[in-house]
Structure formats: C-alpha cells, structure tokens
C-alpha cells in the first residue's frame, strides 16, 4: 500500500439494525485510500452510504466491520485518545446552523476547540481567532454575533473556520454546499480549493453534484449501494468513465447549454436504486445495468485496478 496514504480504509462495513427484518447495509465492504494533500471526492445518490462512510472515517460512526487506519494506527486504537485524533481529523456538516450552537457567539464558537485542547493564552487564542477569520474571509464584525444573525454562506465559513482551528491534516465535508444558495456555493467551493493549497490539507468532499466534484477534486470515488463502483483521477474518470453506473451518472447530469441539452439523447436507467437492506445478488448494479451479463447476477465483482491509478468493480468494463 502507498506510503503517503493519510487514511486507509479496508473492507469497511457500517450496518444499521432495523426494527423490521434485515439490517441496512449502508457501507458494505469499502476499500479506499485518502492520500495526504489530495482533494478526494465521493459521489453517489442518496442512500448509497457516502455519509456513513464519511462518518466512519471521521470516527463519528463505529463501523460494524473492517478497519480505518489513520497515521498507521487503527481508529479503534485512537479511540482512547479522542482528543488527539480530533486535532488531526475534522468534520464539516451539511447544515451549518445545526452544527453551531445557537447561543454561542461566533467568537465563542471559534474559541471553544482551542480551550478544550488547552491551547494558548487568552490573547494568543484571540490572535488565532482573527487569523481564522481572515483564512475564511469573514469580517471581524461577525465575532460578537450569533449564528442566526449571519447568512447561510457566512455560517458555513464559520463552521469551516472552527474545523480549521486546530490545524487538522484532514477535513471531511459532508455535502457542505447543499444547504447553501446557488450564488453562494461558488464562494465556498473556491474557499475549499484555496484552503487545500494553502494548508496542504487532505479534504474528503462528499457531494451528489458531479460538476462540483469535477471542478475541485483531484481524485473521485463513485459509490453505489454501499460499495465503491469506480475510483480514479478526476480527469481520467470524467473523460473515460468505465463503470456503467459512472457512465449513467455522467449522462444524467444536465448541461446548462440549451442547444446541447436538447440535442442530446439520454440513455435512461430504469428504476430506482434498490434498498440497501436487501442489495441484489452478484453485482449490485446488475438490476439497472444496460450491459448486464449472466455472470453479473451471480458473482460480485471486486474492485480491480485497470491501470496504475484507476480501479473499477465491474465484470464487463
């Protein structure tokens, strides 16, 4: 395995017990690596397990099987040093209003992680807070406000600043743009790209919007029903999608050009994604796949390397 991997995920499973019948197999055997300094996008439709995967990587969700290794140590091992782990790995949630305390001013919110970790004197902490504001381009006037007095975009900036307070090496962001207005998304997306370069962060970006992932990520993993269907460098994956599901996702993404959009013939996938509590036999995609062969119904394809940097889980591709 690659030496520069910041996080290694092996055969990870996150299953949830369900009151009726079979457990929900949100993440069902995922292998992946997050390299130091890369912006790694995870795409997939709702219910494919991308949020559960992200939470398990960040230690917010205990896996039911497999392992997550950070810095050469398994997450189970880190569990006894929760504080040390949280200095390195931070999480950004979809809804910034829900992840900030409604009663804390922005200044208090930003200072809290520093206090918990016992960092600096009061004046040093103040300095750090101002530094953080500058990093995410927020005016100093925000400091004494409550989250509800800020706009959606400003709140997400606060949440990002707070996640960066401890100088983490890895930032895991779960749909950080979906709660924001369209005209604000570009601001936050540019901010992520800048931060990644400036701070040499590894960022894991969960999104369902392919265009957003394509724009900023260096590497992309496509998830379907709890499994990685395909992973590869962004340019390669978008230029030559190999997995039929990746191809379908790319086709389903509409263009903003009316002429292209009207002349294009979309190959529609049939049906909805199946339920993660009873995934289809063999390849999970075979029920909707236009290229399904007999072997696909019986044998589950493994994620195999097709070239140096791309892996695909498909019998046909």
């Amino acid at each position: 395995m690659n030496a520069s991997a910041a996080i290694t995920v092996k055969q990870l499973q996150v299953h949830f017990a369900s009151s009726r019948g079979a457990p929900v197999r949100a993440v069902d055997g995922v292998d992946m690596e997050i390299q130091q300094g890369e912006l790694h996008g995870i795409v997939g439709e709702s219910g494919c397990g991308k949020t559960s995967l992200a939470r398990a990587i960040a230690g917010l969700q205990r896996p039911t099987g497999g392992s997550v290794t950070f810095d050469g140590r398994e997450l189970d091992d880190w569990r006894r040093e929760r504080l040390a782990f949280s200095r390195h790995v931070q999480f950004i949630f979809q809804d910034p209003l829900a992840s900030l305390s409604r009663r804390q001013t922005i200044s208090q919110s930003l200072e809290e992680p520093l206090k918990i970790h016992g960092l600096g004197s009061a004046s040093q902490r103040r300095e750090r807070i101002l530094e953080l504001l500058q990093l995410v381009s927020l005016p100093e006037a925000c400091l004494d406000r409550l989250p509800r007095a800020l706009s959606g975009g400003q709140r997400q900036r606060v949440a990002i600043a707070r996640a960066l307070a401890l100088d983490p090496r890895i930032l895991i962001c779960d749909e950080p743009l979906s709660a924001l207005d369209v005209s604000i998304r570009a601001q936050i997306l540019n901010l992520f790209a800048d931060l990644q370069k400036k701070l040499d962060l590894s960022i894991v970006l969960i999104a369902h919007d392919l265009a957003i992932i394509r724009l900023v990520c260096t590497r992309v993993s496509v998830m379907y029903l709890g499994k990685i269907a395909e992973t590869g460098p962004t340019s390669e994956l978008f230029a030559r999608p190999r997995h039929p599901y990746t191809q379908a996702l790319l086709e389903a993404a509409p263009s903003v050009d009316p002429e292209i959009e009207r002349s294009r013939h979309v190959q529609l996938l049939s049906g909805d994604p199946p339920s993660p509590s009873s995934p289809p036999s063999g390849c999970r995609f075979h029920t909707r796949c236009p290229f399904s062969a007999p072997v696909c119904e019986i044998e589950e394809p493994i994620l195999r390397m097709v070239d140096e940097r791309t892996s695909v889980a498909c019998h046909v591709a």
Partner: protein, 345 residues
C-alpha cells in the same frame, strides 16, 4: 367536463399581472413578490429560476391559495384564467378553478399524498371531484393514469400506501394525482430536487412526454439551470422578489444580460467547465426582504452598479433587437437597458 374550446396557440391561458405578495410573520412584513407579471401559453414551459427566498414559489403558488397555512398573506394584482381572476373570487370558487385548471407537483410527494390513505382512491377522488367521473370510471381512470406515469403493475399499486413506494415512484404517483383532474396548467415546484440524478432524468422525460401528449402548459420552479436548459421554452429569473430577466431559454442562457443572471450562470459549474478552474463568485448575500431600501435590489452585489441604481427600482423592459434574437428578451436593469439603446457600431 365541459367541451374544450380550441384556443389559438398565441393567446395565453394564464396571466399573472402585477402581482405583489406580502407575508406577515410575528414581527415583520416581508414583501416576497414585488410587482411581477408573467403569462403562459398552451403547451409552453416557463421556468422560474431563483435562489431560496427569491419569491419563485410564492409567486407561483400564492394566487392559488396554496401557501403554507399559518402565514398571513396579502395579495394584490391579477391572476387571470379563462374562468376569471383567481384573486377576485371567493375561497370556494377559487378551489374549483384551481382544481379544474391547475395540477400541482411539489418537491416532496409526501406533502401532497395523504399517508393514511391508499394511493389509488386518492387519485380516483380527484377524478370524481374535478373531472366529474363516476366511481367505476374514476377507478379505471386512476389505474390508467398510474400506468401512464410509468408505474408498473398499476392494478396492484392502486391499493398501496405512499410509504410503500420508492422516492421516484412517489413522485410519479404525485404527477398522476396532478393529472387526475385533467388540468391545462401544471405547476411543478422543484419537482426533481429531492430525487437522485438518474431518477431526476426519468421524471423530466416523463413530464416532457405528458406535455407532448396533452398540450399542457408547465410552470417549472427550479434552481437547477441544467433542468431549465433541457425543459423550458422561456425562463424568468427572480431575485429578491422581482423578475430581473425574462426571455426565450436560448436568449437568457446564452446571452444573460442582467448582472445577476450573468453572475449566477458563471458561478454554476457544469461538466464542460475546465477541471481545476475557478468559479466566478457573486460577492455578498441576498438582501433581507423585511427592510428593503430604495433602488435596485441587486445593486449592493452588482459589478456594474451606477449612482442611479440606488435611487429607483428598474422595471422589466425589452432589450433592443441588436443584442438579442427576439424582442421578447426583457431585463430589469438601468445599466443594461441604456447600453443597448445605443447602436453598436
């Protein structure tokens, strides 16, 4: 059902004229829609684009009395259908007009379908009430509507509850419900926002197919420019309660003229944007609608702002045909309007 009168394609079947909507909450009055007009022709799709809070839903659902309960609303203006002005008729009559002329598809199908009742009877009730069918005919009609929206095995699904349907199937059932009263106009409020990309493509294809078969006029509320490009004939762009630009889809998306439309379009990536490229940002955030100052509402964020922009509110006016293929391309911006009046040499 009365015999359909063949209307000339050029005449609008629905016309909203100078609509203003105020919403009253505990402490504040919000002018959600400010002096907006639009019209719709049979068979046409008008997309209404804007961010959350821009007033697109209030403008479209307000005249039908379909805003959430518990908010005091005051509407001014006209909303004209062949049966009269929706804003001038009483509640009960309004419900009749609404049920006969309009079908509505919401973002969340669970908000429109009764979770305690089986799907089929809900559809049949619509058909009996508004299309005047008998009980037996209504059931047959409901089953054929379910089949038409692509629900497999409709005789069995007729007796299922909404929670037994998947997300995409519920959306299909809601479209069937909207069609049950045989409407002429379909109002679709973010019909695919809650759906996955591959399912979204299916639902959009279904709407197009139904429109081609029935000649429905569709008002499509969305914030997704990709959906607009694929579905709409015309588009109206809203910002802070005003329509700032309106025109044929090709005109507005290819030559966006209002600074907000320009900013919006260049801030949205698509699969042709260069990898690793940088998006253009619109600085700032939309204004607070309860304390509006005079002048153009986009002025504080606008790259082209001039002193007159702070004084008066620009209204929608046609661009000269120099910059646009049709005179139907309208924009509400002092700067862009005056630019275009000077002939280009």
């Amino acid at each position: 059902m009365p015999a359909t009168i063949e209307e000339p394609r050029s005449l609008p079947i629905y016309e909203v004229d100078r609509l203003t909507v105020d919403l009253y909450t505990d402490k504040r009055t919000i002018r959600a829609v400010d002096d907006c007009s639009f019209s719709l022709k049979p068979g046409e799709t008008l997309a209404i684009v804007g961010e959350s809070g821009s007033g697109k839903t209030v403008m479209t659902l307000g005249p039908l009395g379909l805003l959430p309960e518990g908010i005091a609303v005051h509407l001014r203006g006209k909303a004209l259908t062949a049966r009269g002005d929706l804003l001038a008729v009483s509640g009960r009559h309004r419900a009749a007009v609404r049920g006969n002329d309009f079908g509505v598809v919401f973002q969340d199908p669970l908000s429109a379908l009764n979770p305690m009742r089986r799907i089929g009877p809900q559809l049949a009730e619509q058909a009996r009430r508004f299309a005047g069918l008998s009980a037996v005919a209504a059931k047959t009609d409901a089953i054929s509507n379910l089949r038409r929206v692509g629900i497999a095995d409709p005789e069995d699904r007729y007796w299922r509850y909404p929670h037994e349907f998947s997300g995409g199937m519920r959306q299909r059932a809601m479209i069937a419900l909207a069609l049950a009263s045989r409407p002429k106009i379909l109002l679709a409020d973010e019909p695919t926002t809650a759906l996955d990309a591959t399912v979204q493509a299916q639902i959009l294809a279904l709407l197009k197919q139904i429109q081609a078969e029935d000649g429905l006029a569709i008002v499509l509320i969305t914030h997704d420019i990709g959906v607009v490009a694929g579905m709409a004939d015309r588009v109206a762009v809203m910002y802070a309660g005003r329509i700032v630009e309106e025109g044929a889809v090709a005109d507005v998306l290819k030559t966006p003229t209002h600074p907000y439309t320009q900013g919006l379009l260049s801030s949205i990536p698509d699969l042709d944007t260069p990898i690793g490229g940088r998006l253009t940002e619109i600085p700032g955030a939309p204004p607070d609608l309860s304390s509006l100052e005079a002048g153009c509402r986009f002025a504080p964020r606008c790259f082209a702002v001039t002193p007159p922009c702070a004084l008066a509110r620009p209204s929608l006016a046609p661009l000269s045909s120099v910059t646009s293929t049709t005179p139907t391309h309208k924009v509400a911006c002092f700067v862009m309007q005056s630019n275009c009046q000077e002939p280009i040499r």
